[in-house]
């Protein structure tokens, strides 16, 4: 399987994913500067995937940014520590910055202006956005409603601004060549790979994480569904969490 309109990526700079075994399946890693959407239902390990991606960068002395919306920075640090990823230490060393965005202010332009300033001043190599779904589904703040009214925009148009903000974020990361993992949620039984129905189309890559249970036996799955500039095999693989993060299991079908 080959993404359309690309040459095989021998000269493309690659960024290691932080998932043991995944780089071998995607020609060495994500194309540098690409935006990879990671999706799955609750409990499939999307945030851990993002944290592992950041940890890989910090270990390689890259500059990383973690944007969290659903969890506090302390919760992120605590969860990362389960895999011996010392986010506190990396923050102290200047390799990592964790930014918590206020869910209630995600519709405001000022939020994105602040982010733009942060990105422009810091030259990040890696970014995780946790999650795109929160941005798309965030409430329209009173400030945005008032601001919109001044410009003749009403609620339906303002609601669409959340989607436009996702595009703004993706453009920002592209412009600055930041390799980004954007986390997106999926709801069981609902069609589409993501709940937001946008990130799967505008991302350079799409990774599906899954959970399959038979009785009380549980297995985790991962599939690279799309990755521009990269040859992918399109198969679903299994993975597990170990003390050092995510490890893919060998597949023989």
């Amino acid at each position: 399987m080959m993404e359309e309109g690309v040459e095989l990526g021998t000269n493309i700079s690659r960024v290691k994913t932080g998932v043991q075994g995944l780089d071998n399946l995607i020609e060495g890693g994500f194309p540098k500067g690409s935006n990879i959407v990671v999706t799955g239902v609750a409990g499939t390990g999307k945030s851990i995937f993002g944290m592992g991606f950041i940890a890989e960068g910090c270990r390689n002395n890259e500059k990383c940014l973690y944007i969290t919306i659903e969890q506090s920075p302390d919760e992120i640090v605590e969860q990362a520590m389960q895999f011996n990823w010392d986010f506190n230490q990396w923050e102290n060393e200047g390799k990592l910055k964790i930014v918590a965005l206020d869910y209630r202010r995600l519709s405001e332009m000022e939020t994105y202006n602040e982010l733009t300033r942060l990105v422009e001043e810091n030259h990040y190599d890696r970014l995780v956005i946790d999650s795109i779904t929160s941005i798309v589904n965030s409430p329209i703040s009173p400030y945005t409603i008032a601001d919109g009214a001044d410009r003749g925009l009403h609620l339906p148009a303002l609601a669409e601004m959340n989607r436009a903000n996702v595009m703004t974020l993706f453009e920002l990361t592209k412009k600055h060549g930041i390799t980004t993992v954007s986390i997106s949620q999926k709801v069981e039984g609902k069609p589409g790979d993501t709940l937001d129905n946008i990130s799967e189309f505008i991302g350079d890559g799409l990774i599906l994480l899954g959970l399959v249970e038979v009785g009380d036996e549980l297995k985790r799955t991962i599939k690279v569904k799309k990755l521009r500039k990269t040859k992918i095999n399109g198969l679903t693989h299994t993975f597990e969490f170990v003390s050092s993060g995510i490890v893919m299991k060998s597949k023989e079908v």
Binding site: E188, E213, D216, E217, T221, K223, T236, T238, V253
Partner: protein
């Protein structure tokens, strides 16, 4: 991986499973193909080899040649009916090249989940079809294979040649110590030259896909079933290698759903046959429960059997224990069936899991929109 295995792997992954076969819908396994302008959907099961071994062993042990005849009849009737329902080409409507091509593809299909390796020869003048297998399902273990090997293949060949008198016999069998299984289907006289012992069945019928079948078996969204067979293969619960699809080292094969109805019909003709069939299925249910370990049977049954094509299953463990299966495959034989095999398997699982003797002896069908089967103690 040897080249042959690679081809078979490619076949099952790219043709059998995702394209022609719908295996990504929880509760359903469906073969699709076009007949003229119509798209036809046939409900299938993935069935455990172990269940058929137990059924054949118990029937042959209890009834001897009479039992063998019943198994052969079930197999041949199934093969013939399956060929007609699947719109296989026949000598009446196809030239020899079409039939040769069809046979080649059919043998590759058998290499999908039935055998590790298969080779065949056809002789239209002598009405003879022979096939050799390595590791063919069922008979590789018990040396019988009356349902799937002798009968099933004879039924299909009878349809292709449009001659119900053609019979099949297994002259060599891995389960009996030979290096491979070898089956020949031919007119009785030709078979008599090779062996005196073989069975006959000419009461064969054909069946065509109709609007009732389509309406009853339409793919629907499930409420309780979360897993499709594809999910279980992708997640590594099921493993495929070299023509063998297995779950915890127990092999499964792909089969049209009519097989369970026809098998029940034939075995029911034997005195006490229904009980033997129930007991064999019960025994299989117990073995399966032991294989999957200490899991919660209320969750295991829907998670597992829905993926095999049995429908949307709910185990209601209240005072009145019952298993409700929506979208259970419907066939024209449904009104005559007692669902003995399904009831037996479920009884075995629940009995082994609970340590109590639980038999789902009763059943109720609702066919108002689709078949909902409720089995109760």
């Amino acid at each position: 991986m040897p080249v042959k295995d690679k081809i078979v792997s490619w076949w099952i992954q790219n043709v059998i499973l995702p394209k022609r076969e719908i295996i990504d819908k929880p509760g359903f396994v469906v073969t699709t193909f076009t007949e003229g302008t119509k798209i036809i959907y046939l409900r299938d099961f993935f069935l455990p080899e172990q269940l058929f071994e137990l059924i054949e062993n118990n029937i042959v042990r209890s009834y001897g040649n009479q039992g063998k005849q019943a198994l052969y009849s079930a197999g041949k009737k199934f093969g013939h009916l399956f060929a007609s329902l699947s719109d296989f080409p026949s000598i009446q409507n196809s030239d020899k090249k079409t039939l040769f091509n069809f046979a080649y593809l059919f043998i590759r299909y058998l290499e999908g989940t039935y055998a590790k390796q298969a080779n065949h020869e056809m002789d239209f003048e002598k009405k003879m079809f022979s096939i050799s297998f390595k590791d063919y399902i069922i008979c590789r273990h018990n040396g019988f294979g009356y349902i799937m090997t002798d009968g099933g293949i004879a039924g299909i060949w009878s349809f292709v040649m449009q001659d119900k008198s053609l019979e099949g016999v297994q002259l060599k069998c891995q389960g009996r110590g030979d290096d491979e299984c070898f089956v020949i289907c031919a007119p009785e006289k030709s078979i008599e030259e090779k062996t005196e012992i073989f069975f006959r069945e000419t009461d064969l019928s054909e069946l065509k896909f109709d609007i009732m079948y389509k309406a009853m078996n339409e793919i629907r969204e499930t409420t309780y079933a979360k897993n499709s067979l594809k999910d279980l293969i992708d997640a590594g619960f099921f493993y495929f290698h070299g023509g063998i699809l297995s779950y915890k080292n127990n092999r499964f094969f792909h089969c049209d759903t009519h097989v369970l109805f026809l098998l029940e019909q034939e075995i029911a003709k034997l005195p006490g046959g229904e009980q033997i069939l129930f007991d064999a299925s019960f025994e299989y249910g117990k073995l399966l429960r032991k294989t999957y370990g200490e899991n919660d049977y209320q969750k295991f049954i829907p998670d597992f059997f829905s993926a095999l094509g049995f429908g949307d299953i709910l185990v209601v463990d209240s005072e009145n224990l019952r298993i409700v299966t929506m979208f259970y495959p419907w066939t024209i034989f449904s009104k005559q069936t007692k669902y003995i095999i399904y009831r037996g398997i479920m009884s075995g699982i629940v009995s082994d899991a609970t340590g109590k003797d639980i038999k789902f002896n009763n059943f109720n069908e609702d066919i108002s929109q689709y078949l909902t089967l409720t089995i109760t103690v």
